[in-house]
């Protein structure tokens, strides 16, 4: 569904991404894991066309994304830090998103809006919201249009345990619908029962991309957290 071929991106002297090649298919749910500053968010932003790679290319359903913008209607994106126009209310932001993406007639998925009880605070302005509430709005927008692919950048950071469970349940549900899900997170225990594949990045390079079973087998560990910890330790030495 989405194929990246030797994507390289430099910010000045810093190489954020170096020769990253990945293939992601429908039905997979992939964890993008790596230390801070390993290029995870940059890679996600490349997929969304928010960052333009210096070299290499990315295709979405066999279409190069550099000349295409419509492909983004198949993607729901939840940013790491949701930034919204400060003086708009939640309702206005949601209405604007609906207005802009209306061309697709697919039914709206307002499950998360209800589950997070955003209805009660619809008229609050974005600038008055707490970090966790912003995350809820971001999540609601990402799932709202029933996209084929979900890109979730640190979805559970800042959410309370109850909301985390609601969100995880929702992700699991969408996974069973056969959607492609790409998640980055440092809270590996959150990922354990959601994901099927693991991508590990370090220093802008993709170190490996394999299925969760394969990874557990290779490291001889049972849980995802332990498996990743043993890899990080091996890399640090």
């Amino acid at each position: 569904m989405i194929i990246a071929t030797s994507v390289t991106k430099k910010f000045g002297r810093l190489t954020a991404l170096e020769n990253v090649s990945v293939t992601c298919n429908k039905g997979q749910s992939i964890a993008l894991i790596g230390p801070n500053g390993s290029g995870k968010t940059t890679f996600i932003k490349c997929l969304l066309g928010m960052v333009v790679p210096d070299s290499g290319f990315i295709t979405f359903n066999q279409q190069n994304i550099i000349h295409d913008w419509k492909y983004r209607s198949h993607i729901g994106y939840m940013p790491q830090v949701g930034r919204y126009p400060e003086n708009m209310t939640i309702a206005q932001v949601l209405d604007m998103m609906k207005d802009i993406r209306r061309e697709q007639k697919a039914a709206l998925d307002e499950e998360l809006i209800e589950a997070f009880q955003l209805g009660k605070i619809m008229n609050k302005r974005m600038r008055t919201l707490s970090g966790g509430t912003r995350q809820k709005v971001s999540a609601a927008i990402a799932f709202l249009f029933n996209p084929d692919m979900l890109i979730l950048d640190e979805p559970t950071a800042g959410l309370d345990p109850l909301s985390t469970e609601i969100l995880k349940e929702k992700i699991r549900k969408e996974k069973h619908k056969g959607k492609l899900i790409l998640i980055t997170s440092h809270i590996l225990s959150d990922l354990d029962d959601i994901i099927t594949e693991v991508m590990y990045m370090q220093d802008g390079q993709l170190r490996f991309h394999k299925s969760l079973e394969q990874l557990k087998e290779d490291t001889g560990e049972k849980g995802l957290s332990r498996a990743i910890a043993s890899i990080m330790k091996a890399n640090a030495q």
Binding site: G49, W69, K70, P85, I100
Partner: protein, 255 residues
């Protein structure tokens, strides 16, 4: 694209600065025409306002607006929207609101007090200068991510177009006094939309006869239909070129 323009304009209207700007222009225009019995003199007083205040407000407001809507831009870039049309929508929204403010504040008094060629020229030049400086502001805001620096660049550009450029011209005129510079002056005037606007308005006023030989040449050139068309084309280039460069930069920008 229409939808985004709608949101940009709604956002600008929520901002009270636009209303303040309109009222400010309206008060100045009405008092200028109210105090001067001779509308021609009023036009002359208003000329300086149009050529100094209008570029300043257009460029500063647009620059600040672009920096303040960083969140809006970031949100929409991840959505199925063409970057080019997002940028053009911001430009259209800004330019049309600033033009509306100018039209209400200056245009209507002009049409009431001087409903002749002079009034229309001034109205047209004011609108063109508004659009030109909005385009320049969009380009300036593409040079740096830092808001303070961006506003600084905008103020410097305004300074250049309204003051420094004239200084340079005067300097050149004095240095090369012994040479015939009249033709070169026409070329120089193309390099600054504010000067071009000033010349076109002054030529409609009778006082242009006082400005000597250069003025006669200007009259010859810009007074003809052909010269007028060339001048308007140059003004259009002043909109298109900055806008084109800013679109190109925005299309490649990392957010």
């Amino acid at each position: 694209m229409k939808k985004i323009i709608k949101y940009v304009i709604l956002d600008i209207l929520r901002n009270r600065i636009m209303i303040g700007y309109t009222l400010f222009l309206l008060i100045i225009a009405l008092s200028v025409f109210g105090l001067e019995g001779n509308p021609s003199k009023g036009v002359l007083s208003l000329l300086n306002v149009v050529l100094i205040i209008v570029p300043l407000i257009s460029i500063i407001f647009s620059t600040i607006y672009v920096y303040n809507s960083a969140e809006f831009i970031e949100l929409l870039v991840s959505q199925p929207i063409k970057r080019r049309s997002l940028w053009m929508s911001i430009f259209t929204g800004l330019a049309s609101s600033l033009c509306t403010a100018f039209f209400i504040g200056c245009g209507i008094p002009l049409l009431i007090y001087v409903p002749d060629a002079t009034g229309f020229t001034m109205l047209g030049m004011g609108l063109l200068i508004t659009v030109i400086f909005t385009a320049i502001a969009l380009l300036a805001s593409m040079f740096t991510r830092d808001k303070a620096k961006g506003i600084g660049i905008s103020i410097l550009l305004w300074f250049y177009f309204t003051l420094i450029f004239d200084g340079i011209i005067l300097f050149l005129l004095f240095q090369f006094m012994d040479y015939p510079l009249e033709k070169a002056m026409i070329a120089f005037s193309f390099m600054n939309p504010v000067d071009l606007g000033r010349i076109l308005i002054l030529l409609k006023l009778d006082i242009s006869a006082l400005m000597g030989a250069t003025s006669a040449l200007f009259r010859d050139f810009f007074g003809s239909g052909q010269g007028m068309i060339i001048a308007l084309l140059i003004m259009a280039l002043w909109i298109i070129l900055p806008l084109w460069f800013s679109v190109r930069r925005f299309a490649q920008k990392d957010l």
